[in-house]
Symmetry: C2
Subunit: 427 residues, 2 copies
């Protein structure tokens, strides 16, 4: 079987809350000013009640509302595909599977959380959402989801990506979103940044500051984050839940699960339902792949840090490169983040997951191999996972082991083709 | 059920040859010089034997080779999706379904014929294929298919599209294709055209001349056409065969089938297995939608004409605007063709199918409605089919009829976003 397809009725009805399986409890977020553990009320200016509740829920399963399920069904369940042509090219005894989130109409896994976030905000009377976007994957997803639920959407897009990826901006505008290059002159945070560095390429941290500032100022406006937070990883667990069912259908027991990490949401969603088993019998490896220029797990330290650059957000206990860190403009804009999701940080600190990093050149080489064999042009972010999958398949070849490797193809690269071209020039 | 999904084992094993169902036989193609009916041998310099045989086959079913099926399985069967959100927006009693060929890794239905064409050429010892491309959909598909079967690929891309769509070029180059803007100075046909009009925006007709010239000159090089010919429509019949199965699963009896037409291949593939029923009981409408600026069915005449501009190809009996016709640069580059597939022309002449045309402004409006409701950004070509589906759904609303409408979403528009932006400026 080349593609493992689930029926619509087999799409999960519940999200899987990995918080209940963590080896030690998450450290509480701290208030950015008082540095006391924050209360639910502190988050009310920017998030709806239902998401705040999900953020600290101790229930293992959280129901997916019917209206969210209906929207998911336009593209979910997504296929799990056996990479037969890639295996043949590598001449490996390993069986490589990829979960293809790139068939989402927004082009990536980000729609999995954009839909419930827009939905929960809409039923709590919010009229408008603000957000930041790096590569544009998250901004596209939220623009689309806001259009589904009749919300306005304002997107602060990291300037480096804004300039590299005009198509992403056009796509967001097609869904009536307002898109501003960040740092912008429309917020205090943006103006402050521009005063220091008028040519700042921007960063996710700065863009988050701008979006949060805007949401705090306007009562009918909330903020939406595309990664890092527990409720975001919760929504992404639909990926892992589907993969688990699909692997069972294929009669496969996965030995290695791989995902790229920026804030950690796609990887977090993939591994969520596998963590319990990992802790129990240690017969599976869970591997997070970072870009070497923004490697918070492998080069950062575990400490309380702000989620944004200006220090508006609560302090999170996480691996971080420092909230002032501005990574060089790389093409995988979605991975240019200084911190890591607290859940992923917790799992890494407790050695439940592994991490590794690659430079840009090597991941584009992997992307080209994948495109030419499997025919799918991957997002540069996803290419990090591909690179690791290829490396593990080659190790399996050397060791003559029939290993089952699953990686997450988080998005397609049709809107990143200029990055492919630029990277070719570099090589 | 929102999506009607077929299992891999339900993917058709045979193509459906609609030639056997035509109300009158196809008129034979004529030799471009002698104007005598061509013989199979006349086509040998540019096509492999197996495709020449398919071109005039009188078998109803033609087996799909295993290696072609294997490659199809990376994306086929494609889903048939109920456009619930669009229906709700239109407040129509009609049930609208779309067959989503945009999930193909090349972004459109074109891969359905690119794969078998590359395969049949490769097993007959050909090393290299030439072709033309309008919007870039066909060029992308053939580049990808050539990469699957280790063939070189040279693509003459209509200059207007080459300039409007750099991402398409980059995608083809990612699969190692050589891409030249047409008219180019590398062929006699190109040079002749440039002498007359140095600023020619190009056309499919000119690009075909260039590609054919190159194939005729080189013995290990063949030519591949992405539409018009009988064997191309044959390969696309896999679309209609799947739709037929899917509608049966959904317990639906379609009353209207809609597809856009340039050369006629996606529409031809959609309707192939429905023509027999149409002729028998006339209880289904088959509607071809053209752009008003290149409306060969509704504004052309039925006569023998060349497939290309320079008169290298055989003369085909078809509706045509004249082989010298150069349509104005419109964004739906894939529909800028002067002629129409002989099979579609035959069906139109015999009133088995209907045709209508729309201008650019109205199809982009339809595309925006579809994107905002269904979340999928359609190719401008496909937007022609969407526009007609919307109009028919509104008629059903007026007549208070629960009509079942199926249209073909031939491709996604991620690489056409600059056209969306330009069109917004026009409005």
């Amino acid at each position: 079987m080349r593609k493992i397809i689930l029926n619509e009725k087999d799409m999960p009805d519940f999200y899987y809350n990995v918080q209940v399986d963590l080896p030690e409890p998450l450290l509480p977020p701290l208030h950015p000013v008082t540095r006391e553990p924050i209360k639910a009320d502190d988050l009310k200016p920017i998030f709806p009640q239902s998401l705040i509740k999900q953020e600290t829920s101790d229930e293992r399963e959280i129901e997916i509302p019917k209206k969210v399920r209906d929207k998911y069904l336009s593209y979910r369940p997504t296929p799990l595909i056996r990479a037969l042509a890639l295996e043949e090219y590598l001449n490996t005894p390993a069986r490589i599977y990829y979960k293809h989130e790139g068939i989402s109409p927004a082009g990536s896994h980000k729609l999995n959380t954009a839909i419930p976030q827009a939905y929960f905000n809409s039923i709590e009377g919010i009229r408008s959402l603000t957000t930041e976007t790096g590569a544009g994957q998250w901004g596209s997803a939220l623009s689309m989801a806001c259009s589904f639920f009749n919300l306005k959407c304002k997107v602060f897009m990291v300037k480096a990506s804004f300039e590299q990826k005009p198509y992403r901006r056009i796509l967001m505008e097609l869904f009536d979103a307002q898109v501003l290059p960040s740092p912008s002159s429309t917020t205090e945070s943006g103006r402050k940044t521009l005063e220091t560095d008028p040519n700042s390429p921007g960063s996710l941290g700065i863009a988050i500051s701008e979006a949060v500032e805007e949401a705090v100022k306007n009562p009918d406006t909330n903020y939406a984050l595309g990664s890092v937070l527990n409720h975001v990883l919760l929504h992404q667990s639909i990926i892992g839940l589907e993969v688990k069912k699909q692997l069972k259908l294929a009669d496969e027991s996965p030995e290695i699960l791989i995902g790229c990490v920026g804030g950690g949401s796609n990887f977090g969603g993939l591994i969520a339902p596998f963590v319990k088993k990992k802790i129990k019998n240690n017969q599976i490896r869970l591997i997070a792949v970072e870009p070497s220029v923004a490697a918070s797990l492998t080069k950062g330290i575990f400490e309380y840090d702000y989620g944004d650059t200006m220090g508006f957000t609560p302090l999170l206990a996480m691996y971080t490169l420092g909230h002032n860190f501005v990574p060089p403009p790389i093409h995988a804009g979605g991975l240019r983040y200084h911190g890591m999701a607290p859940i992923i940080s917790n799992l890494y600190k407790n050695k439940i997951i592994e991490a590794c990093s690659y430079d840009q050149k090597s991941i584009f080489e992997a992307a080209r191999i994948f495109a030419k064999t499997e025919g799918i042009t991957p997002a540069p972010e996803s290419a990090h996972a591909i690179k690791k999958a290829i490396d593990e398949a080659l190790i399996a070849k050397e060791e003559k082991k029939e290993r089952t490797i699953v990686f997450l193809l988080s998005g397609h690269g049709y809107l990143d083709l200029s990055a492919y071209e630029k990277n070719r020039e570099i090589n």
